[in-house]
């Protein structure tokens, strides 16, 4: 019998540190997209509340209770980041897909994290415009990405098929900022 070893999407690529900034991998339990059917958002929210203790976030927002999070993921679309084992059966009220094997999650953290990300991402990353509790679907180095501010930097999610390009681009920006700040 084969004994298969599960590898994380960024294994062998991270962690990296350059100057004050570190790029590390995060491995959430599971990532599930939830798109409530027309007029059923309140029911979907109630089901998530009782299972995970989190509701649906507002436009561009994040709701979080302990390790359970829901990210706004587009118009009427949400991304639940929590353990799929607790997932209630809500397929009658929402389109639900397990996207755990689609997204890779990285943390870019440190004093110059915003300066690094600003080289690759067109949105305004200054804390007065983009801070904890918010999230954005945008692009990072021309790749579709989800960027979410953390306490000390950003969580960046990209498609797993793009991780090598994403790490290469982020590392190159990290090196460039580190050299300029020397």
């Amino acid at each position: 019998m084969l004994d298969l070893v599960a590898k994380s999407p960024l294994s062998g690529l991270l962690s990296l540190t350059q100057g004050s900034v570190a790029l590390t991998e995060a491995t959430p339990a599971s990532i599930i997209s939830i798109v409530p059917f027309k007029g059923r958002a309140a029911e979907a929210e109630a089901a998530l509340q009782s299972a995970y203790g989190v509701g649906l976030p507002p436009l561009g927002g994040v709701s979080q209770v302990a390790q359970n999070r829901v990210l706004w993921f587009g118009d009427g679309q949400y991304l639940l980041i929590a353990d799929r084992a607790e997932m209630p059966k809500i397929t009658e009220i929402a389109a639900v897909t397990d996207q755990s094997d689609a997204w890779a999650v990285m943390h870019l953290e440190g004093r110059d994290a915003a300066a690094v990300l600003a080289r690759l991402c067109p949105i305004d990353l200054r804390p007065e415009y983009f801070s904890k509790g918010q999230t954005a679907r945008t692009e990072v180095a021309h790749m579709p990405a989800i960027v979410t501010p953390t306490v000390n930097g950003f969580e960046i999610m990209v498609m797993q098929s793009l991780v090598k390009t994403a790490v290469k681009s982020l590392h190159s920006a990290m090196k460039s900022v580190a050299v300029q700040k020397m």
Binding site: G60, D75, P122, A136, R137, T138, E139, P144
Partner: protein, 90 residues
């Protein structure tokens, strides 16, 4: 150039895909006849002023947006989600 997405706020134009005139929202009835479909598929206004057009926030919230853009200055006069946009308007 920045476009004000009704969901995401001001975003760089590189996040968007341009589709063309918002006339595409006003599809003629199936029995409207050939002339109406020729007009719908091929004929476009080219005003030196505001044009109503479709943009897709491809690298963002993935919503279709109807924008009023000044064709002479590229200035945007307003945006709304295509699903809320009035159909049948010129």
């Amino acid at each position: 150039m920045r476009i004000n997405c009704p969901n995401c706020g001001d975003r760089d134009v590189r996040e968007f895909h341009y589709r063309g005139s918002a006339k595409l929202l006003n599809r003629p009835a199936p029995d409207a006849g050939e002339a109406a479909f020729v007009d719908y598929v091929y004929l476009r206004e080219n005003p030196a002023g505001l044009n109503r057009e479709l943009w897709f926030h491809e690298m963002g919230c993935r919503s279709w947006i109807v924008a009023q853009r000044n064709m002479s200055t590229h200035e945007f006069a307003g945006t709304e989600l295509a699903r809320n946009a009035k159909r049948g308007a010129k």
